[in-house]
Amino acid sequence: MSNCGNCERTGTCVSVHGSINEMQDRASAMGVDTVFDRYQLQQPQCGFGMQGICCQLCSHGPCRITPKAQYGICGAGADTIVARNLLRLAVHGAAAYSHHLEELARTIKATAAGKTPFSIGDEEKLRQIAGIIGLDAARPAAELADQLADVLLSELRKGSDEPLALVKLFAPKTRLEAWEKLNVIPGGVLSEIRDALTKTMSNIDTDPVDLLLTTIRLSIATGYMGLVGTVTAQDILLGTPALTRSEADLGVIDPACVNIVAHGHVPLMATAVIQAAKTPELVKLAREAGAAGIKVYGSMCTGQELMQRSAGSAAGFAGQLGNWIVQELYVATGAVDLVMLDMNCSIPGLKAAADRFHTRLVSVDRIVRMAGVEDHVDYEPEKAARQAEELVKMAVETYKKRGKDIHVPQAKSAAVAGFSVESILGALGGSLDPLLDAVKNGSIKGIAAVVGCTNNRNGHDVKSVTITRELIKRDVLVINAGCCSSATQAEGLMTPEAANDAGPGLKAVCQALGIPPALNFGSCVDIGRIGVAVTAIANALGVDPSALPVAASAPEYLEQKAVADGVFAVAFGLLTHLGPVPPVTGSPLVTSILTKDVEGLTGGRVMVEEDPVKAAEAIYAHIMEKRRGLGI
């Protein structure tokens, strides 16, 4: 239950957003089960699982570490079981990011061959990156893009004994030194995944310290390929985000239109669908069906990707509906005709909600399957234009079956989007100096990345919104990405007017530049963009990232990609706040390493704090300590 304390429904509501509480009431009245209902039915949850001290690997198990049994049947203690479970979570994250990058590389190759509806969106970045990785940057763009995609694919697939080029080329020197000492500079990501999975099999690697180092190594691979690599390749293909305006929250849904929701993480099919939805013959088809037009909305990270590029390749984007928890509730409006499910975060509960209405679910990625969903339009770069057209036609057909029971909440907020290192440099006149000066003179005390998932443990989006508010109040500039972006967008924190809620220093900077105090960096994969930004700041100041007045927070982290992200942030040298307590507390050793000892090795550490105000205070204290360290 929500405990944000902002209104008379405190203690009985489920979300920080009025629209979501309104829709949950409607879903309850209609007998549609949601995440919120199922969460209650799962209480109480098992303490062994919560602490990570349950092992289900072999048929002697499941074993649990209990007051009477300090070891599993094989002799593995709490430290081994916890570290092994954590690495398995990170492997999942690394694998999913690799899938995203591979789809992208395939698309770039097909685009270079002129077989997709896309074109190279940022040729300047293509040439710049190609130059850095040692390609002949003077070659024609298509040829260069094809070569770059080949490099990415070979980096994904090479052996774990061949160091990743992107790490060597893009990581700050001081980081490389720290990682070399720990022997955690990774090789090819798929090989690292194989090694890590092999290590986590029963009785192969049972040394908790080595398992944690492997988690760090895998997370660095994820950081530079899955995050930085994906973001860069995505910019090259779809264009680097440029400043733009959009809208967020369920009130953006227009019941008069054929409504398509792009849900997931990989914005390729979604971009093709936005383009298809603008073609006159499909618009005509929608009008003939009785609709005013066709609208493509965003959900979760695919939506953030589209919003970030709505001044370019995603022009025509109709707005962001919400994050992970919102999926069943936008279906419950009765006004959503088709949801296209791309990789990751399509919950099985969505099908039951969709069946209660007319909504059609279509998987658009070969690895996404959901019981009962029979429509698969699996993305293939060469067929994307035709597939997008087919999806829009399916949506128009489904629109004709729409019922009369429709309810769309009024709530929506404006949002400024399109922040990236490049667009920030553009806004600052080509140099980071104005931003660095503001940090040096204390108008901005520091920068915090409040990123990652949403989670119902403390009420939907309560923690991400509260931490963002508390930080901007303390003159800390906030960067949001992932589901946290949807959270703060809906609450108006990504409008320039939100500067009024910031402390005097940050407020003045925001007003001078006309920017919000919470900047949208995009999807969860755009956490890579934050890595690029921190690297740029560290290089400009000539210090290691761990010396900067910056911090990361994943206040509502939920799934495995976030585990790899979080460990990467620690490896990168950042204080990394986690909201829900990760399943490691059953091991005193792992808990101590992650929250204390690792700081001596990488400069970063995990900070666990469930109270969002106390978490913001601790992040602020950390930032002030780093300022003192730099003498500013």
Partner: protein, 163 residues
């Protein structure tokens, strides 16, 4: 007489007691078998603000359920002290008076048969199945005075450390 005593702070909500209870009352006698037979558990773990709280029959000295029972099926055995509606001459008819009378909600309705269902104290076992299975020693089968002595020692230790 020994009783099921609960150390609330030690319970972490793992639900092992509910599985062991169901197993002990199933035909198969195993946890997996009980899950397949859908044997109901007779001990409940309630969640209160995220905290797990075990609730089970206290086998009261003057049981409200037995008082309310119309057929006489629900009775307290004077020898064992256990309160049960099973194994007696009189049959439970499922009038649910016992359910309405019990202040703890420890008596419930069988999900498929028209009989009341409650903890029978696992007669014949050295200790109730839930207690034997608890990995955290949150459930104990002890003389109440022995449990109290442990508590009073703990309280005394804390007081001494604090002073």
């Amino acid at each position: 007489m020994k009783s099921i005593m609960i150390d609330l702070d030690a319970c972490n909500g793992c639900l092992t007691c509910t599985l062991a209870c169901a197993a002990a009352h199933s035909r198969s006698g195993s946890i997996v078998g009980a899950m397949q037979e859908k044997t109901p558990a007779r001990i409940f773990i309630e969640a209160v603000n995220g905290r797990a709280v075990p609730v089970t029959c206290r086998h009261c000295e003057e049981p409200a359920c037995a008082e309310a029972c119309m057929t006489g099926a629900m009775r307290k055995d004077s020898l064992t002290g256990l309160v049960s509606n099973e194994g007696h001459e009189q049959k439970c008819v499922g009038c649910w008076m016992c359910i309405m009378a019990c202040p703890y909600g420890a008596v419930t309705a069988h999900p498929r048969e028209r009989v009341a269902l409650k903890c029978d104290g696992c007669p014949g076992l050295p200790q109730p199945a839930c207690v034997a299975a608890c990995p955290n020693r949150a459930l104990r089968y002890e003389e109440p005075a022995f449990f109290a002595a442990g508590r009073s020692r703990d309280a005394a230790c804390s007081a001494a450390q604090a002073s």
